[in-house]
Homo-oligomer: 275 residues x 2
């Protein structure tokens, strides 16, 4: 390949690194890609690191040693998170969203790529320190957010089913009480989906009573693995005592007074921990 100029290499480095968050690239990978010397690529990386810091758009981490290299970690500034959460609250704040049974219609928000890619990134940044091996969620509405979180962490996603499916092979199952409907349900995960002793992050779109999250915690224990975090996009203000305690939410919904409009706001819990 024709040699690239420095600013072209910078652009290409940013592209390759940020396309694969948390993936380690060796220095040799880039020297071959660019047909450039190690010292040249090292200097390029210093520039990339600095520009990401300056713009608050990510972090480039150098891993020393034989298995070393560089990886890109997503980063969202407190300001960016605030703007995103305000945007989502504004999108949700429409009484036409209240549907029979007192539920909120949310799927357009939960399946909006611009929102979910950023939400996934925020969860990934928050839980990255916990050495996550898998992200887990229950079908269906939390899948897009969980997928984007898994992508930002560079780990596999596990989707737990509400029915036992022929295409999943042998499954582990657990009974749980859905917080939304109060009904007893069963969830199923393929036996081969999680290796023993893994660190698992639970991601879901919505938490009311916390029954689903509690079910996932029990399921992860059945896999002899460790729950290393629970993140939900929206929690309801009531019941205040959820069936799980150690979780974060980005938004809080007050379901008590739909007559006066929809009250949804950024969660204090997340905000204070982040700062």
């Amino acid at each position: 390949m024709k040699k690239l100029k420095r600013n072209e290499r910078i652009g290409a480095l940013v592209k390759v690194l940020s396309d694969s968050p948390n993936k380690v690239f060796t220095l040799s990978y880039f020297t071959e890609l660019f047909n450039a010397a190690k010292s040249t690529v090292s200097e390029d990386l210093v520039i990339v690191k600095r520009l990401m810091d300056k713009m608050a758009i990510g972090k480039v981490v150098t891993i020393p040693g034989a298995a070393g290299g560089v990886r890109y970690e997503p980063f969202s500034s407190k300001e960016d998170i605030g703007i995103l959460l305000d945007d989502i609250c504004e999108a949700i704040n429409d009484t036409k969203r209240i549907i029979p049974g007192g539920f909120l219609f949310l799927t357009d928000v939960l399946y909006n790529p611009a929102y979910v890619s950023k939400i996934g990134s925020i969860f990934a940044e928050y839980f990255m320190k916990n050495s996550i091996d898998y992200v887990i969620t229950v079908e269906t509405k939390g899948i897009p957010i969980a997928m984007m979180t898994a992508h930002a962490l560079n780990v596999p996603l596990v989707i737990v089913r509400n029915e036992n499916r022929v295409t999943e092979g042998s499954t582990l199952s657990i009974n749980y009480v859905s917080g939304t409907t109060g009904k007893l349900r069963t969830m199923y995960a393929p036996k081969r989906s999680i290796e023993k002793g893994s660190n698992v992050l639970i991601i879901d779109d919505f938490m009311k009573g916390g029954g689903t999250a509690k079910g996932l915690v029990d399921l992860i224990n059945e896999f002899d693995s460790n729950v290393k975090g629970i993140g939900v996009l929206i929690e309801t203000i009531e019941p205040q005592d959820k069936m799980v305690s150690d979780y974060i939410s980005l938004l809080t919904l007050d379901e008590r007074s739909y007559d006066e409009g929809i009250r949804i706001f950024p969660s204090e819990r997340f905000d204070s921990e982040k700062s």
Copy 2:
């Protein structure tokens, strides 16, 4: 903000553009972000365009006029697509994947963020010319791929359910015959999920008889909207006559001879159309 150097602006431009594929950014957005003159940003964009071309990692398209600006379109070279599909075939080619009933265990592949983000990008590139307004899929296994396709196209995802859920509000439903199980099933989509007259792209993980895809086609027609493409990751070699005809698949699976190992290979149909 402190002024950035050219190579820092180049890096930031690549990051912002490629984070939001197919989103139009005005020139003023970048002049404000960088505190730089229009002429400066224009020159930066020329460099970004050129480096993306050289490296075959994307396209930067300029939209002229008052509502104009620039947008990033993902691009995968034929070589990159070949490497990805070979990788996936190799991952699948393991007889331990054959599970009772003659099904293949595939969820680890279908939920692998590195694979699905690239697959989504390939589908987006292929169907981009069709002015897609929505990506649609049926729960559950196709959702990650469909989500990544929607992200690359910058359009909403619609997830059709197999049960009527309280949280979806009023739904449109249609009966269909599942090609995998041969059973009559019903699929449901929220009435407010697709606007009349929209262009819809169907994305799924697997096609055997094409019954699910046919069901989605019927459902889209019920929404007075247009099917503008069908993309599946894997199709089976038999039955050769699917219930839909105008579709693309990336991989073809020969289910007839599991005794001799798993035969899966890149689909000719896609390959020849792409070249």
